[in-house]
Symmetry: C2
Subunit: 282 residues, 2 copies
Amino acid sequence: MRIISSVTAMQREARRWQRSGQAVALVPTMGYLHAGHASLMERARKLVGKNGSVVVSIYVNPAQFGPKEDFSKYPRDLARDVKLCRAADVDVLFTPADKEIYPADFCTYVQEEKLSRGMEGASRPAHFRGVTTIVAKLFNLVLPTIAVFGAKDFQQAAVVRRMVHDLNFPIKIAVAPTLREPDGLAMSSRNKYLTPVQREQSVVLWQAIKHAQKAVTRQALAAARLKDEIAQIVAEKPEARLDYVEFFDPGTLRPVPSVSRGTHMALAVFVGKTRLIDNALL
Amino acid sequence: MRIISSVTAMQREARRWQRSGQAVALVPTMGYLHAGHASLMERARKLVGKNGSVVVSIYVNPAQFGPKEDFSKYPRDLARDVKLCRAADVDVLFTPADKEIYPADFCTYVQEEKLSRGMEGASRPAHFRGVTTIVAKLFNLVLPTIAVFGAKDFQQAAVVRRMVHDLNFPIKIAVAPTLREPDGLAMSSRNKYLTPVQREQSVVLWQAIKHAQKAVTRQALAAARLKDEIAQIVAEKPEARLDYVEFFDPGTLRPVPSVSRGTHMALAVFVGKTRLIDNALL
């Protein structure tokens, strides 16, 4: 595995791959990798085959964090990440520097204006503008034929797909399933922030999803009612505070008034100061 | 010369070129081509050589017109354009349809936020957002190694260059000089709108540039004073109305208080209802 940190060197290598006509899969990450990321790398390898190249990028993208969010304390451990990528048969680990990604005069942004409005976009203004901008940059630097995203960030995957479609990037988007801890908590680098008590109470996101899944097997239900029930479930955990829960059409991300099978559910919960998200098709 | 109007067919051909490693030059236009465009095509051919491919795109991009501007009456004459492209040794004429470029659910835009603010950006809000968005799309559809723009749209070329740099498009930008009519009027598809009287008075843009060029050969001058003089020159033509005249650093596009050699000048003038622009290095 090679580690490339220069933007120019990465693009040079990418153009070499391009001329050779080989498949290239990109797994964009913010590092502090876990088994969920490893499963994306595994998917990437399957998609491009032995002769293809798998690139993992690690970049904690300041543009997708709000001013009061956890950018500066976001966990970083490159040595550990390198080991995980090596074990996952990655060809290139791309670790660009802030100065190269956002030089002082940087001023061009990519913005998706529909799917990015609700949920994460409503709670985190400018978040998706940061996501689409960095992803567009990474696409142009790595020139992948396919990019793999995790289903835990469901809205992010939908926004990126839309960007690729609207701006005609010649790239396919694959979305790989969320990996979970034994108690159901979705794997996330941010789980590291949790105290043992908070960690225990974090299972509430999964409990909320399970509750909704069970409820809709019997009958369609008013979204407002289900939201109330979920708010109560979350309120039972002293460390937890519901940010939002939404029921929506998985294609358009439009909220639906009545929840039934095929409706998608997403929620964000603060556990202590840590903001966790999860989602599932009901 | 092939004419390709399907987005999918264009991208398929582009990927074929990409794998063959050949140079590809794109000349993006809005059609109704004139000798100025032909000179861009000539430059494109020189840049890619005999074995490279030259693509001319013709697309009147609604996203870069304001609601009260001339989108619907913008001149179109494909048969004439085809002849000009054939004569200019173009390989592919790309003429995509509105429905494919902006499907009903289109919602992703590229925006440059510094160089696009003044001058054309101030007079035509959302213009450059439309320009950067369509250019990003054309780049992803044609996958050129180089793209050629005309110097008449000086600010546009600067904004596109900045977008390419910021978003890391693996594409070089070439800018070819403005072609002029014998009396100095910059060639433009919009000159067609002018009545004979307006056409005669349109020379005022070139007269204004000549005035400034002569003035700065003697000494540096206050921008405010030169602007007044140019306003007077324009006011002498009954059909002409000055939209703006600006003196600025050609690298940053920042207005300068004192004008000297090396300062760049740009102006926009309404002649009747037709808005004409021009610019030059002093």
